[in-house]
């Protein structure tokens, strides 16, 4: 494969501007770029986009039709006594100060031990302060130093209010959080009468430890969610206890999960794998190609012969074998898919290096005593960057495609034992759940999302290639 004259990529800004102008003139490429960017944003900001947690099951609304609006009532909060469980890590991240409030239902309680542990040192301190807004049925009567008296349905209760700052050290801290009980419909509901203020931009893990323990809780500044033993979302309510409404734009699956939210999180997985595996391939390919091109001679022809042989191999078979033998850890997938894609990159980089090597300024750099490394960093890398960038953009959609292909075959990647369900897996789920065709949305939406994504990325990639490397126009 002959690549274009690398001179075109010499840093001269006008050439880049030129390429950019050519790109802008290609309308399909521009549309592709916009859609791709939009999807990337959705993937990055998935938490802000989704109306509801993608793992949240509304079991009474299985196969919900697209467009329905459902209330989530806070009735099904539950907890089990005597078990120690930990919360799944807070999924929703954000910088700055955030307020968390616990809403726990239990029989009798004066408080729970909260085992606060931060997974990163970036969490500086956690501050426990008093709560200001109380549940309707509870009233603050009196403040006596660090104790407060509340009245609720069952009478008055005096509680110690923590109003202190806990600085997290190396050691994990145990804090006793007093709880304020509140009577409610036969069973007692307790509101943890504290606001935990955490100055953090990292994942926080709350372990709740007491003789009355919920199975799992996730709290953020709007919602409170409970999880069952395996970490699946059971219920999610608004902090103020009002019904939480979801519109299921694209319908619900066989477990009553919101398809739109699942697609949004699927985007994150697809993009993540696409980008990381591409980076892996970039690394291998650039290294291999640069070495072959730079050393040249016999080594080069041998190395390229190897590439030729590897080109002939139907890779997906090996990837499938790899994934079935070494487990489906997402890291295995990164490497497997990255290893598939590096060949073209290696050829391109080699070609670039080879022709650049002949250029006068490299000779000049050599003559003036610049070492190999200097030449590499000063001339080769900047000069090959353009082509590499273009082919990287072209690689991402094909990795996404391959990942979806594997997921479709039932080889979804996993992370810490949890399947990461990308669009390919959702499409396969859609086929299985098709019934007699009445649950069409479960197939059509994931499939179309995937197709549209690949469509736009291919248009963008083609446009980039035509803009940066006009000689390659229409070759593939």
């Amino acid at each position: 494969m002959s690549t274009s004259d690398p001179v075109k990529f010499v840093a001269g800004r006008s050439l880049w501007q030129d390429a950019f102008r050519r790109l802008l003139r290609n309308r399909m490429a521009v549309v592709g770029a916009i859609v791709t960017l939009l999807l990337a944003c959705i993937a990055i900001f998935a938490e802000w986009v989704v109306p509801v947690d993608p793992t949240y099951q509304e079991l009474h609304h299985r196969f919900g039709v697209p467009g329905q609006v459902h209330d989530t009532t806070p009735e099904r909060l539950f907890l089990v006594e005597g078990e120690r469980t930990s919360f799944p890590p807070l999924r929703y991240r954000g910088k700055g100060t955030r307020h968390f409030r616990f809403l726990v239902q239990q029989r009798i309680a004066t408080g729970v031990h909260v085992h606060l542990s931060a997974r990163s040192k970036k969490v500086r301190k956690i501050q426990l302060t008093r709560i200001d807004s109380l549940p309707e049925s509870v009233e603050r009567i009196e403040v006596r130093g660090d104790r407060e008296v509340f009245r609720h349905g069952k009478g008055e209760e005096e509680v110690t209010v923590l109003d202190k700052e806990i600085v997290l050290g190396e050691k994990l801290d145990d804090v006793f959080l007093p709880l304020l009980s509140r009577a409610s419909r036969g069973r007692q509901k307790l509101v943890l009468n504290q606001v935990v203020r955490a100055e953090t931009n990292q994942t926080l893990t709350f372990d709740l430890e007491s003789d009355q323990t919920v199975r799992g809780l996730r709290i953020d500044n709007q919602t409170v969610a409970t999880y069952d033993l395996v970490g699946r979302l059971v219920q999610e309510v608004r902090r103020d206890g009002k019904p939480f409404q979801h519109r299921h734009l694209l319908g619900q699956d066989m477990h009553g999960r919101d398809l739109f939210s699942r697609l949004v999180f699927g985007a994150r997985i697809s993009f993540l794998i696409g980008v990381v595996a591409t980076l892996v391939s970039l690394f291998i390919g650039v290294f291999y190609g640069a070495v072959a091109g730079w050393v040249g001679g016999r080594v080069d022809s041998f190395m390229m012969r190897v590439v030729d042989i590897l080109y002939g191999i139907p890779y997906m078979f090996l990837v499938i074998i790899l994934m079935t033998s070494f487990g489906r850890d997402v890291r295995v997938m990164f490497i497997a898919l990255g290893a598939v894609q590096w060949l073209t990159m290696a050829r391109i980089v080699r070609g670039q290096v080879l022709s650049l090597k002949e250029k006068e300024y490299i000779e000049a750099a050599r003559a003036s005593g610049g070492g190999g490394f200097w030449i590499l960093t000063r001339h080769l890398i900047p000069n090959t960057l353009g082509v590499i960038a273009v082919y990287t953009t072209l690689t991402i959609p094909s990795v996404i495609l391959q990942e979806s292909f594997l997921s479709f075959l039932g080889l979804s990647p996993e992370w810490q034992g949890q399947p990461l369900e990308s669009w390919g897996a959702l499409t396969w789920n859609g086929i299985q759940a098709l019934g007699t065709g009445q649950n069409w949305w479960l197939l059509v939406f994931p499939a179309m999302t995937l197709a549209i994504t690949l469509f736009s990325m291919n248009f963008l990639g083609d446009g980039l290639r035509d803009a940066f490397d006009p000689q390659m126009k229409g070759r593939t």
């Binding site: 080109y311 191999i313 139907p314 078979f317 499938i320 074998i321 479709f408 499409t427 086929i431 007699t436």
Partner: protein, 305 residues
Amino acid sequence: MARYLFRRILFLPLVLLVLLTASFFLMRAAPGDPFANERGRDPEIQKNLKAKYHLDKPLWVQYGIFLKNLLQGDLGLSTKYKDRTVNEIVAGHLPPSVLLGVIALLLALVVGVATGTVAAVRQNTVFDYSTMAVAMVGISAPTFVVGPLLVLVFAYYLHWFPITGWGSWHELILPAVTLALPFTARISRLMRTGMLEIIRQEFIKTARAKGLTETRIVLRHAIRGALLPVISYLGPATAEIMTGSLVVEKIFQVPGIGYEFVNSALNRDYSLVLGLVAVFGTLLVFMNLLVDIVYGLLDPRIRYE
């Protein structure tokens, strides 16, 4: 031609060998063995089983045995279906896959070459634009998206074809079309670019100056050169068709070797996986060789090299 073919004949088995070796060691390098999951087996039986499949021997010896048997055409015993040889399983599942693959390839060739040619000749017309737009869809939309959607529309709603199954011709159409679509699209694009490139050549001007009709110019003077990129694409296309057959056979439940491969990999059925890889690899090598021969026949510059 002879020299050219000779080089290819030396080269292609190397591809096969690399594929087989990589598959072999990937399978064996993984922790555990195919019998580890079968609980309640007493250690004695486990040991016997391992001995039967040579799993107790050093890896290199196993590899040697595997290659030796392979050369004799013996693919060994399935580790999952213990009473069946891999040869039997392959013999049972190969025909549907080959049938499907060949039909898909032919379909892709005929439709792709025809549409690509017309699009090139009528460049910048509505036909050209719409063909290329459809081709872009065909390339971008993966088999596992198109297949299910076709099933939904043509099987569930329109009832033109059965949903899944294998045996009669109209059960063949949807899987064949699904499998062929991406290749049709790519061939169509290749054909169009090839054709446009050829049409710009001087010798087409010569042909025009002779007073030949456009049809004749295209069919006689242009098509050969324009076909060359398509022909060389058929090698990689075969590999892609094989990969595509994995999902198509899964969607349509075709009892072929693609479906069998995925299952055997999931079951970690060592000998079946390797046997199937060997079959795929051999088919691929033969297809590539065929492509090389056809290429040489079409391009006299290679034939008389």
